[in-house]
Amino acid sequence: MASQIDQMRKGTTTVAILKLLVDEEEPLHGYEIIRRLDTRGQGYFRFKEGLIYPRLHRMEQDGLLESRWVGAPGTRRRKMYTITEKGRQQLKVEMERWRTFSEQMDQLLGLEAA
């Protein structure tokens, strides 16, 4: 069961991050993204925390996110992520895809009335 959830989580992390950054309307660093995703998911989708960083970097390379280092010299620096316009468009597509998938699965499993 854990591996099934893990597979589902892997397929939905990108859309979850994009949605979070749109909703929060402020740049966030990796640790804060994990913390807020964990709060939203109520711990259900908990995963290896460090794996958020390769995902964030791939999303940045794909142009879905932008980042900037924040912090004066001599203080702790943080890499803050914001969503790009391309990321917002991607989120719309992914949300629609997820909605269709969810509806079809509900119908398939006879859960639509639940």
Binding site: H29, G30, Y31, I34, K48, E49, G50, L51, Y53, P54, H57, R58, E60, Q61, E66, S67, R68, W69, V70, G71, A72, P73, G74, T75, R76, R77, R78, K79
Partner: protein, 178 residues
């Protein structure tokens, strides 16, 4: 990535807690999985260090001692997997961009050389070159292509500086042949 440093009033100095050397060992475990250019590795580890420091501070705030907090944070972090995934995310991209970054200023300099010297081998005057649209197109390309293509804007500045250095050399010493 627009890697720029700006003042952030909320930023705190890096903690001086005694667990730093143990935290360094965790980061070293990640680093052993990486084989990237030094700057990329440094940025990656800097980002991960911030995460680990935050996570340890949160664990300690919940009552764990320093040692236990770090063990728990490292277990949640997934050290080896993170190293492997980061390497996979960056390796191909870095190599291709590195080759492109090195080649672009050279290409611009070659075009410049073609612009500066007339077919008979004599150098044209700098005033004449400066009114040629091609010259400005190449100069802008040397700035804009790296700026838009590469995640680090400093590639654009390096390319730009190389292009203008070559321009000055060509005009100051027109006898230079290459």
């Amino acid at each position: 990535m627009n890697a720029e440093q700006v003042a952030d009033p909320s930023s705190r100095p890096a903690p001086e807690w005694g667990g730093d050397s143990r935290l360094d060992r965790v980061l070293e475990q990640v680093r052993t999985q990486l084989d990237l250019d030094a700057e990329t590795e440094h940025e990656l580890l800097d980002e991960l260090r911030g995460h680990l420091e935050d996570a340890v501070a949160a664990a300690r705030a919940q009552g764990l001692d320093e040692e236990r907090a770090l063990v728990e944070v490292a277990a949640r972090f997934g050290v080896e997997e993170v190293g492997r995934e980061l390497q996979a995310a960056h390796v191909g991209w870095g190599t291709a961009d590195g080759v492109f970054a090195a080649g672009l200023p050279v290409l611009c300099a070659l075009i410049l050389r073609w612009l500066v010297f007339a077919p008979d081998g004599t150098a044209v005057g700098w005033r004449e070159v400066l009114v040629r649209p091609t010259f400005w197109v190449v100069a802008l390309a040397a700035l804009l292509v790296p700026l838009l293509r590469f995640p680090r804007w400093r590639y654009a500045l390096v390319s730009w500086a190389f292009f203008w250095a070559m321009s000055v050399i060509f005009f100051a010493w027109p006898a230079v042949r290459w």
